[in-house]
Symmetry: C2
Amino acid sequence: MKSKYMGRKARLTRREMLGTGALAGVSVALAGAVEAAPRAGIPDSWDEEVDVVVVGTGFAGLAAAIEAAKAGASVALLEKMRTPGGNSIISGGVIAAAGSPMQAEEGIEDSVDSLYDDMMKAGLHLNHPKLARIVAEKSVETVQWTIDELGVEYRGLTHMGGHAVPRSYSLSAGSGSGIIVPQLNKLKEMGVEPRTRTLLKHLIRDAEGRVVGVQIHEKFKHPNMDSGKPKTIRARKAVVMATGGFGSDPDFRMLQDPRLGGDLDTTNHPGATSEALREAMNIGCVLIQPSWIQLGPWTSPDERGFGYAPHFVQGVSASFGLWIDTLTGKRFVNELADRKTRADAILAAGNKCIAMSDAEGYAKGSAGRPTDTLDKMKANGVLMEYATLEDMAAAHDIPLEALQATIDTFNQSVDAGVDSDMKRYFPNNVGKIGTAPYYVVRLSPKIHHCMGGCGINEKAQALDVVTGDPIPGLYVAGEASGGVHGASRLGSCAYADCLTFGRIAGQNAAAEAG
Amino acid sequence: MKSKYMGRKARLTRREMLGTGALAGVSVALAGAVEAAPRAGIPDSWDEEVDVVVVGTGFAGLAAAIEAAKAGASVALLEKMRTPGGNSIISGGVIAAAGSPMQAEEGIEDSVDSLYDDMMKAGLHLNHPKLARIVAEKSVETVQWTIDELGVEYRGLTHMGGHAVPRSYSLSAGSGSGIIVPQLNKLKEMGVEPRTRTLLKHLIRDAEGRVVGVQIHEKFKHPNMDSGKPKTIRARKAVVMATGGFGSDPDFRMLQDPRLGGDLDTTNHPGATSEALREAMNIGCVLIQPSWIQLGPWTSPDERGFGYAPHFVQGVSASFGLWIDTLTGKRFVNELADRKTRADAILAAGNKCIAMSDAEGYAKGSAGRPTDTLDKMKANGVLMEYATLEDMAAAHDIPLEALQATIDTFNQSVDAGVDSDMKRYFPNNVGKIGTAPYYVVRLSPKIHHCMGGCGINEKAQALDVVTGDPIPGLYVAGEASGGVHGASRLGSCAYADCLTFGRIAGQNAAAEAG
């Protein structure tokens, strides 16, 4: 990124002309001059020194730590919560790969361009094209890395909303723990263990603009931002910020989107707050696209957080069932549309919609899952079972005749092989709806992913707000960065983004001259 | 705005405990401590001192300067370009007021709530509710202020797109100069003259976080950011940043919306660049909603910038004519919808649309305008005249039969008093289309307004990115601020916003203890 605005450089010019050494610590008053000064002071002595400081232990942070350690760097891996994993460990367990071996086995044609196009379409073309393309280009390599390097296991391909074809590898573990745990094991082998309850308080930038270390609070007790004991760590090479989004932070959410107040639920863990992002802005990193905050369309008001609902709503109902507006008895959106389209459609329908399937649809959509999932969802109260369509309609105040007409039309579409109503993609094994019992999950969108964040370049370097140039010594990866997903992130693209740019950040951090 | 993230305050606590005086200039190394440090150094001596520094000479800056001077403050009024006025002086000349005397005269019922609702609807409810409400509540007072205090003259009410009723006062001058010139005259009376060719280079914030002055470049030559002679000005009370948006800055535009590259034209003046906003971020002001960048729907590819097109497209065709997709011969959008709806519709139609009217429509829509406007638009090549509909259709490759059907339907709607096609508001004097000659302007959206900017509160105080609290000594008003308009600004609401919050900023700046 080139820019004609040379604020910091202009400030440095005078130093450079006079020789930095001669000026160190000396205040010189020239007419009209403003002395260069760091944002946060550099301590007289550091409490600790390492090559690379990685902040955050989700997919991106752990991937960065693995790559940095592999390159021979000493790594301090910081995590503010009591346990590592961030949002990643509780996420849905699918990762996009375009043109993968598993697609080849199933005869599914796919390409980097197709994934890229899907990402750009969902992102309303607000995606930074070069960043989105890197994620698409490296998607197969990234999945393969999790298999070869980490021993991650996948149980099959899923067709996620907004994707042209099934291309998302489903973790056998059923959640992001299927990657986080192997990442942590790998790091342990390499002698790197996450330092939990360690808060990033300040990024420390020197007079030349380089990030040279961090101030942290050890024994931090979330969410008390003043808790813990201060300590400084010098980063001889670089700091990698992989601190995630701000989905659990109503204050910062509402600055960017005043609709998203504290009354709305979120799928995020409680630590998904903004303080690290705020500190990055505070030391001059540019913030991009922060008002694009994604609501997940596959959550239920009948449980807290992410919950069980997505297993049924996304895994079963979106491919093998129907989403119904209870006021009309009709479908109201392509059940496989991108997240924003679906969340907006649910809200526009007054938040009175359900996802449903019949017994056969449930069997197809839940193949490979633990068999007790159904019982868990029923026990939890999030999934309801009905012996007949009549019972289902009565329980949810759906006009029965309209509902039956909707199902009849859908069944004709299944015969024809084309969804006449919503143009939804039909998997080969899609079937007619009509086998009791019927299952229902009520729908209510929840705050899920922050598309905006720190501006970065293709090397995962943070960009300076004044110059647009990279900030030496600072890398950002994962949800803390902005630009990859534009207006709306497609499902299973966060895994690809976080792991790909986490690795890039770790490799480049370790390669800094230091 | 309350926040639990207390970064700066936490840093100050230790100072406060030990006593600021004892620590001044002394570096104390405590274990794990990071010394508080200002963002940009404070000069050993200031070149000049005033009470209030106002940066920018559009509506907001001049309104702030007037209020500050009126309150007895000495004011330095800075403008980086050769002439004052910014985008304001070349803008379209309409200001919204809800429940105004002129509406009462015409029997138009209106209310603050109605304007507020229109703003929120266009803004997709991303508007900061309290800020939007202030603009709506004060809209009549603000217009009255321009009349009583400045002697501004208006020639009538206009019905702008997205507004429920005609509520926008049209300047007799036909452009924003009708307010800017009286503002400059008023300031001259008070002994304040804009210092042109004076660039804001740095905002200077002290160790306690207060903005205490600026570094500027005198004899600045736009766009050479290194040109001019550095000088510092201490602001004893406050700095008001009214530096406008970044519509003419492809680098910053593309960070926030990569589609908006340098190949796209803009209605903005060449000085609408991002360096002041970048500097505000650089010293810790929070950036909100920067990716919402409005394209004006009423511009033409046949001239540069704002041009003449809006006079016809908005003033004539949107109320008394039709907007036609040349590929289909049909209307494609409510011609009085909000800007985003219309710009998106034009782009979605492949940017191949026209605005048209017949001779009677032209006469009605241009009543009160200088009579040579038509000749100027024809000479400029932006407006084309045709003796018959057939000629018009042939010249623009419009299917004639479909075009005639569209006009027939419209004429039936005029008889019925209701727009059956697009539900457009019909003014009382709307007429059927059919009187030769016919006029056409081709449509192509241009970058017009940046909705995002510095986060502010109801007092126009800039908000700190770390704490969310006001930054002492820094006010932001006008397009440099964010939040009033949300996702999309309604026409004529920028005048109300800039003048209202400019006045608020100036009043509060002058009232600071200093």
